[in-house]
């Protein structure tokens, strides 16, 4: 039983890390209906910029600020050059465009900052300490705290501020929102900027564990089932989805894997779980229920 709990917690902790990436997707999807595959490249770009700056002697907060600014600039450029010309095109076309975008961002990141693997030390211990009978590390607790703060801040920003309310207006009915004077390009720029900063936070947490390197772009694959379960447009959904995916794939690897040829099953298990969820709730746990009219 203790072993089961240990596995469950390690899965849940992994899930929090997945959720951090998923939040970036949710923001963009909510505002512009784009499934942004380039989110992984943004995570790489942000983390790589941050590490390069700190390696040139900038203190943590300065590097964080400068990188955040870079992400804002990137958001403005992306909105102008990619999103605006593609407005009103099919979701699949937009998805493909973000795939193209990911090539550009990855190429640019490696062109400017090289392909070396960088160490990123956030100064938080990652060794086991006893916490309620379970072995957790300070880093795990820190990551969870960051996730909670992030969700809280984003909910506040998007629930209480003017821009957040406009965003919800856009998400509910784009045409109506435009007709009452909400400027779509502004909303997009803001949302892409915010998700750029979220990408930076995710990049720092992931980078501290695995080193800042190209593989950071692959975290999107883990975020996808999280999104499907949580719903493409819900921030709390991303967290709950992340926890569900993390826990279930850990348990599947331990208890299901040995029954099936001994392979690691977690890569597809999450997707199958997601499909199962979809059949019961076609728009995810927390997703907006779309109403179809004839």
């Amino acid at each position: 039983m203790h072993y089961f709990l240990v596995i469950l917690t390690s899965g849940l902790l992994a899930g929090i890390m997945y959720a951090m990436v998923a939040i970036g997707f949710v923001l963009i999807y909510k505002a512009s209906g784009v499934f942004n595959f380039a989110q992984g490249s943004l995570v790489l770009f942000a983390a790589l910029s941050f590490v390069t700056l700190t390696e040139h002697g900038l203190p943590f907060w300065a590097a964080f600020l400068v990188t955040s600014l870079m992400m804002v600039v990137a958001a403005v450029i992306i909105e102008r050059l990619v999103l605006r010309p593609l407005v009103d095109r099919s979701p699949l076309t937009l998805f493909m465009a973000t795939l193209g975008l990911s090539f550009v961002i990855e190429g640019l990141a490696q062109l400017l900052m090289g392909t070396d693997v960088h160490q990123l030390d956030l100064g938080i211990d990652d060794v086991p300490t006893n916490f309620l009978g379970l072995e957790l590390s300070q880093f795990d607790l820190f990551a969870s705290a960051v996730a909670i703060v992030l969700v809280a801040v984003l909910s506040l920003v998007f629930g209480r501020t003017r821009i957040g309310i406009s965003l919800r207006g856009v998400a509910d009915d784009t045409l109506a929102a435009q007709s009452i004077g909400i400027r779509l390009p502004t909303i997009w720029r803001v949302v892409w900027s915010v998700s750029g900063v979220v990408a930076l936070v995710a990049g720092l947490l992931w980078g501290a564990r695995q080193g800042v390197q190209f593989s950071l772009t692959m975290v999107v694959l883990k975020a996808m089932p999280v999104l499907i379960i949580g719903g493409f447009s819900s921030i709390p959904g991303a967290i709950v989805g992340g926890l569900l995916v993390g826990a279930s794939e850990s348990l599947a690897d331990i208890y299901l894997g040995p029954l099936l040829a001994g392979g690691a099953v977690s890569n597809w298990f999450a997707y199958m779980l997601a499909v199962g969820f979809l059949l019961v709730r076609p728009s995810g746990l927390f997703g907006d229920r779309t109403i179809e009219r004839v």
Partner: protein, 350 residues
């Protein structure tokens, strides 16, 4: 969001037929003449992959362009076709190659129908999850169970024999002819499917599924059929890609990137255009080669170092994709259509 918005461009039928005819002529003459003129390099690294990937594009286009359904797991279905063909060639040695391919395609089709089942309940982008699940599931399946690769140490499969009526097809022109003949037959078939009752039903469902149901089209049945036929095509394309082009394949030859590549082929070539798939495939195969060759031609490697150049190439590839998506909403097929139209009235200005 709904899948019905994918594409519903209406072209004038006469125009489309004229384009199709000229394209068929063009591709047909290239196809016939190439073994004579093209050398092994052209056959092996440009023509064979272009045609095989074009066929995979047809498979996805039938599903996406005509029936309006989404799939992000084309590569998984390609791998099923490849592994099925391998095992049939190995274990059912009495089966001639054409029947083997048909059988492998049918197996893929059945699996495709199974993974299409969620489409009866889920719509739009969420549907992609199911096919994405297929993508990862089959990569795992073919790596985990060695039976599929005949207990090969490296989990790779390679064609045990490629022969048609006693003819050895392992040489470059032989493999090329195999790919061209199979693709030509399937292209013709696809052309007839999309103009048949089935094809019209698909387009009706794509453009408005509720209305289609009202006028008595069996929506569920037609959607599953779309998954079946699409997977049949994709499976055969996978077999050709694995054995006529790569020579050897494993589960990772058909990863998510390959699925995206097929998606690119459809969108860049032109949704709901069969000939466009080959243009899209040619684009995907040729662009990286052309970029490196241009670098070589202008001797840029002496100015910049290799690390810079390869990253610039990667960025350019991304930029070209974005520009094409922005500028050519209906894909390269419609671009060719316009150029043809201009030629037809030349020297008069249109």
């Amino acid at each position: 969001m709904s899948a019905t918005t994918l594409t519903a461009t209406e072209r004038s039928p006469r125009m489309a037929i004229a384009t199709l005819r000229s394209l068929v002529w063009l591709l047909g003459s290239i196809a016939v003449l190439s073994p004579v003129f093209a050398d092994e390099y052209w056959l092996n690294s440009i023509l064979i992959p272009t045609i095989a990937m074009g066929l995979a594009g047809i498979g996805l286009n039938l599903l996406m362009g005509y029936a309006g359904l989404v799939s992000l797991g084309s590569a998984a279905f390609m791998s099923i076709g490849a592994f099925a063909t391998y095992n049939l060639l190995l274990r059912a040695t009495w089966l001639p190659l054409p029947l083997t391919l048909i059988a492998a395609g049918t197996i893929t089709g059945v699996v495709g129908v199974f993974f299409g089942l969620p489409s009866l309940r889920i719509k739009g982008f969420y549907l992609a999850a199911s096919t994405l699940g297929a993508q990862f599931f089959f990569e795992w399946l073919f790596t985990s169970f060695r039976w599929f690769s005949n207990n090969s140490l490296t989990l790779t499969i390679s064609a045990p024999r490629l022969e048609l009526f006693g003819l050895d097809l392992r040489s470059a022109p032989g493999r090329y002819l195999l790919v061209v003949i199979v693709t030509a037959i399937l292209w013709l078939l696809a052309n007839n499917i999309v103009r048949s009752r089935i094809g019209r039903d698909w387009m009706a469902i794509r453009d408005m599924d509720k209305a289609a149901a009202v006028i008595g089209i069996p929506v569920a049945g037609r959607q599953l059929l779309a998954y079946g036929i699409s997977s049949f095509y994709t499976g055969i394309a996978g077999a050709l890609f694995a054995f006529a082009y790569l020579g050897t394949a494993d589960a990772h030859s058909f990863d998510l990137d390959k699925s995206f590549e097929v998606l690119f082929i459809v969108l860049i070539g032109g949704s709901a255009s069969l000939a466009g798939n080959f243009l899209g495939a040619a684009f995907i195969v040729l662009t990286p080669i052309v970029l490196t060759r241009v670098v070589e031609w202008f001797d840029l490697a002496t100015v910049f170092d290799n690390g810079v150049l390869v990253n610039v190439e990667r960025m350019l590839f991304g930029v070209i994709i974005i520009v094409l998506l922005i500028r050519e909403p209906d894909g390269l097929a419609s671009l060719v259509e316009r150029i043809v139209a201009r030629w037809r009235v030349w020297p008069l200005r249109a």
